[in-house]
Subunit: 426 residues, 2 copies
């Protein structure tokens, strides 16, 4: 059997998971690809830290060119996780005619379009299944399994850290800070949790999902992202009383050839399949015109789940090399990129207000919504103390523009404070 | 753009769904395949019933050879749903060098292996995504998305009819008969519901899933199938008291290179992702050594979901024709087929017994289990009337052989009746 050599850039958890899977599942992988696939060279930061790979036949190096420039290597796996350096290496690898697998969502969200062009120019494959929802083969599913369908909406729990935190806040009543500390102690959250809790990580994944689902090349700036930093256990309990579970969702939705992409805490009915996705798990819920509602659930991160997606990409490349069909772009569906205006972007909202318990304040609040043609499907008023009340409303479907107008007007009203507003999906 | 002609055998709901999707999603499909894909001929049973397709450019015929023998047709879609005739037509089509898409689970479960051989001999593609779990692209996911993994267990709610019935029995307390009548009234169940309620339909799908997941070519006779015909609302309530939801699962599990495949009512913890799959929906839960637990959820049947899987298959074939890579077998993973002996097949069980409320009967019951080294994790005793009690036990993990020994011994004991036994998955 002929052999196929792989070089790996970066040797953290994912990199070592790739080594492990290629070793342990060698028989199956050889059978389905027709190749003996072996990792021959790995770029590491510190040779002394990678001693456990001595005597495995893998050459370790701190010089990227040793890997990228090795003519015996056909496939480069990029699992370093930075942006700029990874970008340089991937470009060099593609220009050297090497196929590339990356797990780097930041790289693909920011530079995917450009890298895909370079890959095609060099007749190379570029795959990135592990960049979204770790062990769930969601990108391949959208591009191949759902190829026949006109997708309408993609909603994802695509950040495991915040889903873990929300699960703890919901089921155990933990505060945001305690949930964050637990997540950090378990290694789910970094010491600076900004990317996770502010929805930036989720936004990057939604950029990638949007490109594949709707063929539209949105940028990170096109995604309005609200994270969970200001979400309180109180709000989770209020939602619960109204029959909802709060999840941090990325939502990408197509309407009349234009797309809206956002990341926002979202109230889901407790029976919604996404409401049952707990802990650090991920899930992507897809609504297609024909297939209807399908959902893809699994681990969003972790050494072996992520590595298994990387190795599935390596297998796809190996098959393409065997068939002589490399360099065909993974996702060939392209649609003109149009962004839906806020005036045309419709949803229901949960709005939490604090107001002085005075005659007329409630009337003023309802007037502000009515002025924007926003009706209520549920109202919950709870006394806070002698002269303050918390009011929660669930609106009927309204445009984002109208909601923002109403909230802006409320902010100028005496005695009313808008505490938060989240999306509601039924 | 060059055109690719498709012939359809059978024009029921799925066939007309295929016509609809190919028309409505033409732009996207042309873009990703590079072909103008058109249905040119359809085999119907009765020309007078298919009048709505007059003036659509589709030629209707009652003669299969008009379709199969048409040299301008590259792809045959078989959506007739019988076995023998479909087999003949598919063989003829493949021998005539035509690629085939079928939604026919019975055909693939019974003759898949042989048909795959004929396809390969004739350099043709044979795809059957719609044969399992309708709109969920589960076969492609197992073969491509999870290619890198060593799968350990596949558990599926793969029969929508029985899942609908169980949902009604669980959430509304409907009897088996009332739930069946509702399913029949809604068109989910046929007038003779045997295939659905006795687990035969699910068993056929598990044969297909087993072939793709473990590379093993089991036959329908290798699947021990118990349906829901004897399941009562009482048992659903007993399970509920113990914290479980009952679902009809197909379970295919690999242990040391041998596989066990069964269909059985199964108790799942209420927090298990499969426990939240309601109504006529399907879901397949996959445990891989590396990817861990992933689940794929969606509609198991219906005109458009099933047709969308058929059209995704057509798209795969079109891409292969363009690349010159047809005739490569869809699933190239083959493992020696070994069936796991009942003595090596371990699980937990729910056993429901009726016994006379006499001193010594309970002791006799526990002795029978102890003789087979079966311990209990939960016991629930409920008085039935003055001298009869219902006893439910949840066993610790035991072999199927030991369970059957214990149950056989209990059947010979005076005062004890074994009412039912189902599997428990934690």
């Amino acid at each position: 059997m002929s052999s196929l050599n792989v070089g790996v850039l970066g040797f953290g958890t994912v990199g070592s998971g790739v080594v492990r899977i290629l070793n342990e599942h060698q028989d199956k992988i050889s059978q389905i690809t027709g190749y003996d696939i072996a990792i021959t060279k790995v770029l590491v930061r510190d040779l002394s830290k990678a001693r456990r790979y001595e005597n495995t036949g893998i050459t370790l190096t701190t010089n990227a060119n040793d890997v990228i420039g090795d003519p015996s290597i056909a496939i480069i796996v990029e699992v370093m996780g930075t942006i700029e350096t990874a970008y340089d290496y991937v470009v060099k690898a593609l220009q050297a005619g090497k196929h590339v697998v990356t797990a780097n969502k930041d790289l693909i969200a920011l530079h995917g379009d450009h890298l895909i062009t370079i890959a095609r120019e060099n007749n190379c494959d570029l795959f990135y299944e592990a960049s979204v929802a770790g062990g769930i083969p969601i990108l391949r599913t959208i591009v191949n399994g759902l190829a026949s369908d006109h997708l309408k909406k993609v909603m994802g729990i695509v950040n495991g850290t915040t889903n873990f935190m929300l699960t703890k806040m919901t089921s155990e009543g933990l505060t945001y800070n305690d949930a964050l500390q637990q997540a950090q102690a378990l290694g789910f959250a970094e010491s600076d949790p900004t990317n996770d809790v502010d929805g930036i990580d989720a936004a990057r994944k939604m950029v990638i999902l949007t490109r594949l689902s709707f063929g539209m090349n949105v940028s990170l700036d096109d995604v309005s992202a609200t994270g969970i930093r200001n979400l309180t256990v109180d709000e989770i309990k209020l939602a619960d009383q109204l029959g909802y579970t709060i999840k941090l969702l990325g939502i990408s939705e197509e309407t009349n050839g234009a797309v809206d992409v956002c990341v926002t805490p979202t109230l889901l009915p407790k029976t919604h399949p996404l409401a049952g996705v707990h802990n650090e798990n991920n899930a992507v819920f897809v609504i297609g015109e024909a297939a209807g509602e399908t959902m893809y659930y699994g681990p969003g991160a972790g050494e072996l789940p992520t590595a298994s997606s990387v190795v599935s990409d390596i297998i796809s490349i190996a098959k393409n090399i065997k068939l002589g069909t490399t360099g065909n772009v993974f996702n060939s569906y392209v649609h003109e990129t149009n962004k839906l205006a806020d005036a045309n972007c419709y949803a229901k909202y949960f709005v939490r207000l604090k107001m002085t318990d005075e005659t007329g304040t409630f009337l003023k609040m309802t007037q502000r919504f009515t002025e924007q043609n926003i009706g209520f499907s549920r109202i919950l008023q709870l006394p806070e103390n002698d002269d303050q009340a918390t009011v929660v409303v669930i609106t009927h479907t309204t445009s984002r523009a109208n909601l923002h107008e109403a909230l802006a007007a409320l902010k100028n009203d005496n005695g009313i404070v808008v505490h938060s507003h989240y999306r509601v999906e039924d």
